[in-house]
Symmetry: C2
DNA sequence: TGAGAACTTTGCTGCAGCGCAAACAAGTTG
DNA sequence: CAACTTGTTTGCGCTGCAGCAAAGTTCTCA
């Protein structure tokens, strides 16, 4: 969709689908920064006073989106005061999210981080099914690993063990949370011991 | 100075000194989000569309600052267009910083993170001395640990070993970087092995 | 329908770094 | 200057989780 460091030629509004935003380190490792859901703006480098994209965006599933050339940004912000105001609120809440991520990465164990990540995805994109709440796009163990700073192996092990306990159900590139509440307990848990 | 979750009564401009911004987890662990240097705005919850502070601020050393009641925020932004624009640029760059932190926490080892943290502090607040560049306010091992998501013990061990190698010099609550370049190599290093 | 690609599971091994504990500075205060 | 308080160092044991390796599954495409 667009690439890190590339000239920020356009900004987008996602109408349908899901987009993964990733950052790549010099040595090739990828870190998922966030997932974009329908209705969200993306590629808003201009709002941050940048001329290049700070990250890459990849469609997690087929998407429909509107695109405008970057140079329209100031005009938009001018012509529609609410547009500007809302954008800044968006940026603000992304800053919050990022700080939350930093705190999680600093203080939580891998299992808690993965649990939090799943809950976040479920909240953001969950679709109710008769088995529980399903994450509404294909997501691999690798993807989850890149969100939580771990390896696909560890994620696989965690999901297996949670499936045994009836917390989640997963097939290839699909995850369904069966018992959000118990998963939340696990995510918050570990007060000292456990 | 102000506390997390507290009503955002004021916003501030730091004139002199250094401020540590921290987030506290429900179970009492503290994570340092960033350090504020003279000339920077702080407590700008209002710019993010919030009414409470998202974090706590503590003077790392005696400070001089200007404070305005929060309700003046919209007036300021209105009356001085540059003020508003600049603020949003600030927020944007903080978002960048936060994402960088996330990437570092996800992909780097503890020693690299500590090295990066020291370099960042040196760049932001360093003062040249005849021994190297000194971080210009009292900073304990514990503080560094809270910036990097590790323990004071590990930080202590790292600093000791770096001191042996002549990379840094440290006394109680003081750190001087003697060889920034070699430290940078260490921070970036570890391409595969080493 | 069969070969290959992509994703997942699982066992085993090793070690970075945390937790604990105890001794040791270096300031600070009466 | 003696008694504290606060920060630092260092040793040791343990463990969470990464790395490696090798099957096993599911999907896709010719």
């Amino acid at each position: 969709m667009f690439e890190q460091e590339q000239e920020a030629h356009s900004f987008f509004l996602l109408l349908d689908g899901h987009v993964r935003v990733i950052k790549t380190t010099p040595d090739g490792q990828e870190v998922t920064v966030r997932y974009i859901s329908p209705g969200e703006l993306m590629g808003i480098a201009h709002a941050l006073g940048r001329t290049t994209y700070p990250a890459s965006a990849i469609a997690a599933i087929d998407c429909v989106l509107l695109a405008w050339p970057g140079h329209l940004w100031p005009k938009f912000a001018d012509a529609f005061p609410n547009f500007g105001a809302n954008t800044y609120k968006t940026v603000g809440s992304r800053l919050q999210d990022a700080h939350t991520r930093v705190v999680e990465m600093s203080t939580e164990q891998v299992d808690q981080r993965v649990a939090h990540a799943l809950l976040k995805l479920v909240k953001q994109t969950g679709r109710k099914t008769d088995e529980g709440i399903m994450i509404d796009f294909p997501i691999s163990r690798q993807d989850i690993a890149e969100m939580t700073g771990t390896t696909l192996h560890t994620v696989s092990r965690l999901l297996s063990s949670w499936e045994e306990k009836g917390l989640v159900k997963s097939r290839r590139e699909k995850v369904t949370v069966v018992e959000p509440h118990r998963l939340l307990v696990l995510a918050e848990g570990r007060t000292g011991k456990n």
